[in-house]
C-alpha cells in the first residue's frame, strides 16, 4: 500500500512544502484543528543593497519592476561593529522598547522578521501598528523579511519544543542566514554585521554559542553615541525581579482571575464587563457602565480598582449590599494625598495608605449618618482586565519625589504626574532627572504589578519646557490623540499636479464639466468667522417670478479632489476632522486643498456641490434638488461684515438683497425648528484675543452671537437634513447619518432635583419640546446669566451626538434630539470633517453623478469609519477646549488678579466648583483654600448648602453668584501651573 501521506523522501518537492498545525478557538466556542501548508521559496530577497544575488532572483511585478531594496549598503556602525550593522530584533525587543525603534537618532537598517511581526501582532495590536508604520517609513529602512517562507530560514518545529523556543530558533537561524548570505553575495569588501537584539538571556546565550552577533537592548544602546539618553527608554523589566523578592501573600493587590473564568462569568451574567472610568474629582472613585444595569456601578478605593486605569476594559464583580455606597461628595486629589510618598521605597506595606484610608473613612461615616435619604449605589470591584487601553501619557516629574542628593548618571526613581487627573502617578526610572525636571514628558506605562502601588513606566521623550507654547500644544495634541505629523509624501502625491495654479477648466467640454451645472452667474457669497481660510460653504437667494425664492447652499466639492481609497482619503479618514486650537489648526486635508482649491474663495471659479430649494416666503420648501456645479463667489464676508451690510440701509444691490432674503427666511426656519422642539443649548464659549505679532494671548472675550451666525447655521441645518433624506432614500442600509439620542431621564435626575430644591423650577424631560420649554422657564429676573447657566448644565446631561450607518439602527433611532429633526447628517463641511466627504460621495452616487464606490456602500467599512470619526470628533473638541483653557491661563498670567463674578455649579463636602462666565473656565475652591486653618464646615447634601464656620464663616449654595479672584498660580511642590480661584465673597 502506497502511503497517502507526504513523506520527506518520496516527494521531490517535499522540501518546498511544509505545514503548520494549530488549534483555533472561534468566538462561537468552536475549536478547530487548522492545518496550513507552507510553500517555501528561494526568491525572497534579503533586500540589502549590498547583495547582488537577490537582485537577480527577486520577484518582479507585472511591469517587470523590482521592489526597491530597503537596507542601506553603508549601514551605520557602532563601537562594537565599526563595519556597520543590520539589526534583527526579536519579539520582546519590539514589545518592550518600541519607542526606541522610533527614535530618529539610531535604529536604522532593521530586519523585521515575519515571525516577529506576527508575534507582535498577537501580543499587542497598537504596537503592531506602530511597527508596520515603521516598516512603511522610507527613512528608517525597516524591512520585513518573510523568513517563514524562505526555504533556508524556515524552521520546522521539533518534537517537544515549545512555540517560543522554536520562534527563537527561527530568529537565530535568520540571523545566521543573513550573515552567511551577505558574506557570500556582498559586493563590498567589508560585510556589515548582522546583530540580533534580544532581552532573553537564554536566547542570547544560545546565539553566542552559535557564533552569532547578539546584544541585549541595554548593551546595544550603550554602544550608541547618545546611549545614555536612550537607556531611559528601556523598561527596567529585568532587574525588577532581583530587587523585589516579596514573599507570596504579601502582594498589594488581589490577583486577576483567569480569562476563561471571567468570560464564563460574563456570559452567565454573574460578572460584568465594561470600560472603566475614573471620576475627574476623585481619583479613588471609578465607575463602570455595564449593559445589565441602568446606572453605572461604582468602584471605590484602590483595592477595588485593582490596577485598572481609566479606559481599560475590565471585568467587575458586584459587591454585597453592605458594601454599597453613595458616590463621593468629596474632592480627593491624588497629588495632595500621596504627596509625600517616596518612589524608591515600596515598603509602605499595605496598599491603602493611612491618609487614603482616612479620606475614605469620612466618606463611609457620612453615608451611614444619613441613613436612607439617598439610596446607596451598588459598588463593584475589578477582578480582571480584558484589555489595557494604555496610551502614551503626558505629564511632568513630581519635584517632591526627586531626591535632592541625586548626582551623576545614577538611575533615580521618580514619580510622573500625568496631565490627565484620571491617570495615577507613574513610577519612572531615569538617569537624567536634572534635565527632565520642569519639562513636559511623554511616557508609556509598561506594567502594573500586584506588588507595586503605582504603575511603572518609561520615558518616551521630552516635549520641552513646561509652559512653552510648543510643548503645551504638542502635549495636548498627544493627550487627545490628534494626528499632527505633516502629511506623508504618498498623501501629497494625490494632490492635483497643477498645485495652486489649478483652475476650473475654461472649456465646458472638459471632462471636469460633465454633469456640472454652470452656476457662475448666481450672486453667491460666503459668510464665515474673521480670518477663515477653509471656506466650506456659500449661499445665494433670489426671487422667482412666482413670488417664491430660490435658495442655494453651495458646498466645496472636496470629493472631486479626494478619490475614495487613495492615500489622501485614508489619511483623512484616520484624522477624521480638522482640529482647531487657539493658535493652530491641524488640518484633515493638505493645505493646498483645504485653503485653496476646495475653499470657496471669492472672485474665483470653484467646483461646488449645490443644494437648491424653491421656498415660499413663509419658509416652506416647495422643491429641492442637488447638483454638482461650478460657482463663482462674489464676496467672502465675515459675520460682522455681513451684519453691517444688512443693517446698512443704503446698500440696495442684489447681493445684499439676497442676504436680506436669506436672513428673513432663516428666521422663519428657526422659528419652525423651535416650534418642533429644538433645543437651544449652551456651552461657555470664549475667544482669545491674540497680539498679532507674537500671538501671545492678551485678552479673553466671550463670543458674541450675531443674526448672521444663525443665518448660516439655519441653512446649513436645512441642507444637512435635505441631504440626509436623499442619501437615506438611495442607500437605506449604508447612508452615513448623524443621530442624537434622547438622554435617559436618569441623566437629568440630579439637575432636576437641584433646580427644584434651589429655585423651585420643574424640569420636564418628557420630550425635547418639553425640555426646551422648561429650560425657557428657568429665568431669574435678577440674574440674566442664570438661564445660560442652566442650559450649560443641561447640555452636560445630554448624550453626545454620533455618526452612524443607517443599517445599524432602527429608523426611530435616527432622530436628532437636539435639533428635533427626524433625520440628520453632516454635509456642509467636507474640508474639515470626513463624514461630510462620505455624505458627498453618497449624494453624488444617489443623483447619478458618479458610480457608487464600493467603499461608500460597504457597511462594515462605514461602521469602522463612523466609530473612528466619533472618537476623533470628541477628541478634537476636547483638544480645542484644553487649548482655550491653557490660553486663558496664559492670558491671566501676567495680569493682576481680577475679581470676577462666578456661579457655583457643584458642591462637595470639602469644596465647591465655580464657573466663571467671563473666561468660560471652571475652578475648584477647596475649604482649605478659604482660610488657614481649614474652617469647619457643614454640608447639607439635600439642600446643596455648604456652610463654614470657625476661621471663616461663609455660606455657599448651588447656583449662587459669588465673587472670586482669578489668578494664575504655580504650585511650587508639583511644578504645575493652573488657574487659582479664591473666594472673595459669597
Amino acid at each position: 500500500m502506497a502511503s497517502l501521506k507526504r513523506t520527506a523522501g518520496a516527494d521531490p518537492f517535499a522540501q518546498n512544502i511544509s505545514s503548520k498545525v494549530y488549534v483555533r478557538s472561534t468566538k462561537s466556542g468552536k475549536v478547530q484543528k487548522i492545518v496550513r501548508e507552507v510553500y517555501l521559496r528561494q526568491d525572497i530577497p534579503c533586500s540589502s543593497n549590498l547583495c547582488q544575488a537577490c537582485l537577480k532572483s527577486a520577484p518582479r511585478n507585472a511591469a517587470g519592476e523590482l521592489t526597491p531594496f530597503v537596507l542601506s549598503d553603508k549601514p551605520a556602525g557602532t563601537k562594537t561593529f565599526p563595519q556597520g550593522h543590520y539589526l534583527v530584533p526579536d519579539t520582546n525587543a519590539f514589545l518592550t522598547a518600541m519607542d526606541l525603534f522610533e527614535q530618529s537618532s539610531a535604529f536604522y537598517d532593521v530586519v523585521v522578521l515575519q515571525i516577529v511581526l506576527e508575534e507582535v501582532r498577537n501580543r499587542s495590536l497598537p504596537l503592531y501598528n506602530r511597527l508596520v508604520g515603521l516598516t512603511k517609513s522610507e527613512d528608517k529602512r525597516f524591512y520585513v523579511f518573510f523568513n517563514e517562507f524562505r526555504l533556508e530560514t524556515y524552521v520546522p518545529r521539533e518534537e517537544g519544543e515549545t512555540v517560543n523556543d522554536r520562534n527563537d530558533r527561527a530568529v537565530r537561524k535568520a540571523v545566521k542566514w543573513y550573515g552567511e548570505h551577505l558574506a557570500k553575495t556582498s559586493r563590498a569588501k567589508t560585510v556589515p554585521a548582522v546583530v540580533m537584539l534580544s532581552n532573553d538571556k537564554d536566547n542570547l546565550r544560545k546565539a553566542k554559542t552559535e557564533g552569532l552577533n547578539a546584544c541585549s537592548l541595554a548593551e546595544y544602546v550603550g554602544q550608541l553615541k547618545d546611549g545614555d539618553k536612550l537607556l531611559d527608554m528601556i523598561p527596567d523589566a529585568q532587574d525588577r525581579d532581583v530587587t523585589r523578592d516579596r514573599k507570596p501573600g504579601e502582594h498589594l493587590y488581589p490577583e486577576y482571575q483567569s480569562l476563561s473564568k471571567m468570560m464564563t462569568g460574563v456570559k452567565a451574567g454573574v460578572l460584568h464587563q465594561g470600560i472603566f472610568n475614573v471620576s475627574p474629582y476623585n481619583y479613588l472613585e471609578g465607575s463602570i457602565r455595564v449593559p445589565a444595569f441602568p446606572k453605572a456601578l461604582l468602584i471605590l478605593g484602590r483595592e477595588n480598582i485593582n490596577r485598572a486605569i481609566d479606559g481599560d476594559v475590565v471585568v467587575v464583580e458586584v459587591l454585597p449590599k453592605d458594601h454599597w455606597k453613595e458616590p463621593s461628595s468629596k474632592v480627593i486629589e491624588e497629588d495632595t494625598i500621596t504627596k509625600n510618598e517616596n518612589p524608591d521605597t515600596e515598603d509602605a506595606g499595605d496598599l491603602v495608605s493611612e491618609k487614603e484610608r482616612k479620606a475614605l473613612q469620612e466618606e463611609v461615616r457620612r453615608t451611614q449618618n444619613k441613613a436612607s435619604e439617598t439610596l446607596p449605589q451598588p459598588t463593584a470591584r475589578v477582578i480582571g482586565v480584558i484589555k489595557r487601553n494604555w496610551r502614551q501619557y503626558v505629564g511632568h516629574i513630581d519635584q517632591s519625589s526627586v531626591s535632592s542628593a541625586s548626582q551623576g548618571r545614577k538611575q533615580d526613581t521618580v514619580f510622573l504626574i500625568p496631565m490627565d487627573k484620571k491617570i495615577p502617578k507613574i513610577r519612572l526610572r531615569t538617569r537624567q532627572v536634572a534635565e527632565l525636571l520642569g519639562k513636559r514628558l511623554l511616557v508609556a506605562i509598561d506594567a502594573w504589578d500586584r506588588d507595586s502601588r503605582h504603575p511603572v513606566g518609561h520615558l518616551v521623550r521630552s516635549l520641552g519646557e513646561l509652559e512653552t507654547k510648543a510643548a503645551e500644544t504638542e502635549a495636548l495634541l498627544l493627550e487627545w490623540d490628534v494626528q499632527y505629523r505633516p502629511f506623508p509624501k504618498t498623501v501629497l502625491d494625490c494632490l492635483p499636479k497643477e498645485g495652486h495654479d489649478w483652475k476650473v477648466p475654461a472649456s465646458t467640454e472638459d471632462p471636469g464639466w460633465t454633469d456640472r451645472e454652470d452656476l457662475r452667474g448666481l450672486l453667491i457669497c460666503s459668510i464665515d468667522p474673521i480670518g477663515c481660510q477653509d471656506i466650506d460653504d456659500a449661499l445665494h437667494a433670489r426671487p422667482l417670478p412666482n413670488g417664491n425664492f430660490e435658495v442655494g447652499v453651495h458646498i466645496a466639492d472636496v470629493s472631486h479632489f479626494v478619490k475614495p481609497n487613495n492615500a489622501m482619503d485614508n489619511e483623512a479618514s484616520i484624522r477624521g476632522t480638522t482640529v482647531y486650537l487657539v493658535d493652530k489648526r491641524i488640518d484633515m486635508l493638505p493645505m493646498l486643498l483645504g485653503t485653496d482649491l476646495c475653499s470657496l474663495k471669492p472672485y474665483v471659479e470653484r467646483y461646488a456641490f449645490s443644494v437648491i430649494w424653491e421656498m415660499s416666503p413663509s419658509g416652506d420648501i416647495v422643491s429641492s434638488r442637488f447638483t454638482k456645479s461650478v460657482i463663482k463667489s462674489r464676496e467672502a464676508f465675515s459675520y460682522e461684515e455681513a451684519q453691517l451690510r444688512i443693517d446698512d440701509v443704503s446698500q440696495q444691490d442684489d447681493l445684499t438683497q439676497g442676504i436680506r432674503t436669506l436672513l428673513a427666511l432663516s428666521k422663519k426656519l428657526r422659528q419652525k425648528r423651535m416650534d418642533a422642539g429644538a433645543l437651544s443649548l449652551s456651552s461657555p464659549e470664549v475667544k482669545i484675543q491674540m497680539e498679532s505679532e507674537t500671538s501671545d494671548p492678551i485678552d479673553v472675550k466671550t463670543k458674541q452671537l450675531l443674526d448672521t451666525n444663525s443665518l448660516v447655521e439655519e441653512f446649513m441645518l436645512l441642507a444637512n437634513i435635505s441631504v440626509a433624506g436623499r442619501i437615506y432614500q438611495a442607500f437605506p442600509q449604508t447612508a452615513i447619518l448623524r443621530r442624537h439620542a434622547a438622554p435617559p431621564k436618569t441623566n437629568f435626575e440630579e439637575l432636576a432635583n437641584q433646580l427644584k430644591t434651589k429655585r423651585n423650577f420643574d424640569l420636564n424631560v418628557e420630550s425635547s419640546r418639553a425640555l426646551a420649554d422648561s429650560l425657557d422657564a428657568c429665568v431669574d429676573p435678577k440674574e440674566p446669566f442664570f438661564n445660560t447657566l442652566v442650559r450649560i448644565m443641561a447640555t452636560r446631561c445630554m448624550m453626545s451626538a454620533e455618526y452612524f450607518c443607517s443599517g445599524t439602527q432602527a429608523e426611530p433611532e435616527f432622530r436628532h434630539y437636539g435639533l428635533a429633526s427626524e433625520i440628520y447628517t453632516h454635509f456642509t463641511s467636507p474640508i474639515r470633517r470626513y463624514a461630510d466627504l462620505v455624505a458627498h460621495r453618497q449624494l453624488a452616487a444617489a443623483i447619478g453623478y458618479e458610480a457608487v464606490d464600493p467603499s461608500v456602500r460597504s457597511r462594515g467599512r462605514l461602521e469602522a469609519v463612523c466609530k473612528n470619526i466619533n472618537v476623533r470628533h470628541r477628541n478634537a473638541q476636547m483638544a480645542g477646549r484644553a487649548s482655550i483653557a491653557y490660553y486663558v491661563g496664559q492670558a491671566l498670567r501676567d495680569r493682576p488678579a481680577a475679581e470676577e463674578d462666578a456661579f457655583v455649579i457643584k458642591i462637595f463636602s470639602n469644596g465647591f466648583v465655580v464657573l466663571v462666565p467671563r473666561f468660560g473656565i471652571e475652578g475648584l475652591i477647596r475649604l482649605r483654600d478659604l482660610a488657614e486653618p481649614e474652617p469647619a464646615a457643614e454640608f447639607d447634601a439635600e439642600n446643596y448648602v455648604l456652610s463654614t464656620s470657625g476661621s471663616r464663616t461663609e455660606r455657599v449654595e448651588l447656583f449662587q453668584k459669588v465673587v472670586v479672584k482669578v489668578s494664575d498660580q504655580k504650585d511650587e511642590i508639583t511644578g504645575k501651573r493652573g488657574v487659582k480661584m479664591e473666594l472673595v465673597r459669597a
Binding site: 500500500m1 502511503s3 497517502l4 501521506k5 505545514s19 498545525v21 494549530y22 488549534v23 483555533r24 478557538s25 466556542g29 468552536k30 475549536v31 484543528k33 487548522i34 492545518v35 518545529r157 517537544g160 519544543e161 515549545t162 512555540v163 483567569s258 480569562l259 476563561s260 473564568k261 468570560m263 464564563t264 462569568g265 456570559k267 452567565a268 454573574v270
Partner: protein
Amino acid sequence: MSTNHVLLSPAELAYLHASLSLLPPLRPDGRAPNQFRPVSAETGVLPGANGSARVCFADGTEAIVGVKAEVEKTRTRLGRDPEEEEGGYDPAAEAAAADDDDEGGSEDDRKGHSDWVEMTVEIPGQRDDEAGTVFLAAMLSEALLADGEFVKRLYINRRFHWKLYLDILLISPPLSYPLPLLSLTTHLALLATRLPRLKSEGDEDPLFDDDWAMSDYLYARVAGKAVSRPPLTLLVMAVGSNIIFDPAKEELAVADVALAVSVGEAVAGSLSSRTGSKKMEIDTGIGGGRNLRLLSVRTIDPPSRLTPPGVPNEKNTAYGAAAVTAAQKQPEARTVETESVEGVWKAPRGGAKVLVMAALVDKCLEKGGVADEVFDALEAVDLG
C-alpha cells in the same frame, strides 16, 4: 444481508462447504482458520482531522476513517440538578465543587451520553440509508457505546463535552463483507485521535491550548503505548464445528453461522486513572495477554441462506432422471430440501446452535488469541 451475492454454483458451494468442514479446515486462500488476511495500515492520512487512519486488506479492500471533534454544550437531561441547566453557571457551586476534589470533576461526575458520537458509514455505490449500511454503522457504534466507557472520554466538564464525528469510508468496492476492515480502521483512527488540551478549570467555558503539539490523545499514551484501546469488532463464522476468522467473501457464502463480536479491553489498572478503581475487582491478574471483554454480539444473516439448493444427479432430468409430473413435483421438492446428500449444496436452515455460538465467543475472547493478535498488530502502527 447486503453482502453481495457471490456467483458460485451450488456445486461449488458444496465443495467449499465440504473443504471448510474438514479438520483442520481447508480455506480457499490457504489461511489457517484463525489467520487474518494481511493488513497494511497507516494513520494521520487526513491532516485536517483530529484523527484518521487508512487500512488496506490484501484482497484490495480499503477504508479511510476520519475523526472530527467539536465542543458542544451538554444538555441537561431530566432528573438532574436544575442548577446545571443549560449555561447555568454558578461560581459558588463551582467553588464548592473545587473544594471537594482538587482534580476538578471527580470520576463519578463524568457521565457520557451516546448522542456524543455520530457515526456515518459510506459504501461506494450504495445509498447511505440502505439497511445494510445502517446496520454496519449500528454495529460499529454499538461496540463503542455498549459499555458507556468510551463516551466518558468525551467529557470536558459538567457543561461541555466533545462531540465526535466518525466518518467511515470504504473506498474500494465492497469485495467482501467490510465489517472487520471498517472496525480495524475505526479502531486505529480513534487511537490516533487527539483533542486540544484543556486550559480552563472546573465548569468554566472551556478554553484550549492553541498549540496542537500539546494536544492529548483521546486514548492516553504512556511511553508511546496506549494504556487502553478502543473496541474492535471481529467477524467470525462457523462451518460445522470449525471456527473461521476473517472470512473471505466466498467463505461467508457457505457459512452456517456468522457473528460480529465486539471485544474491548477489560478495564485493568491502566484505565483506572480515568474511570476509577472499582472496576479493578473484575478478574485481573491472571497474567499473559490482555483481559478481553465481550461488548456485543450480533448474528449476521450469512448469504449462504439465500443460495439456491443443489439438485442431486439422480433427481436431475438432465442426467436421465425420469421427468416428473406436476402432481409429483411438490413432495419430491420437499425431499430435496430436507435430505442432505453428500456433495450436493443445501442452504443452512434454522438458527445457530448455542454451543457453536458459545464456542465462537470463547474463541474471540481467548487470551493470546486472534483478538489479542489484532490488537497487538494495530498497536504497532506508527501514529505519526
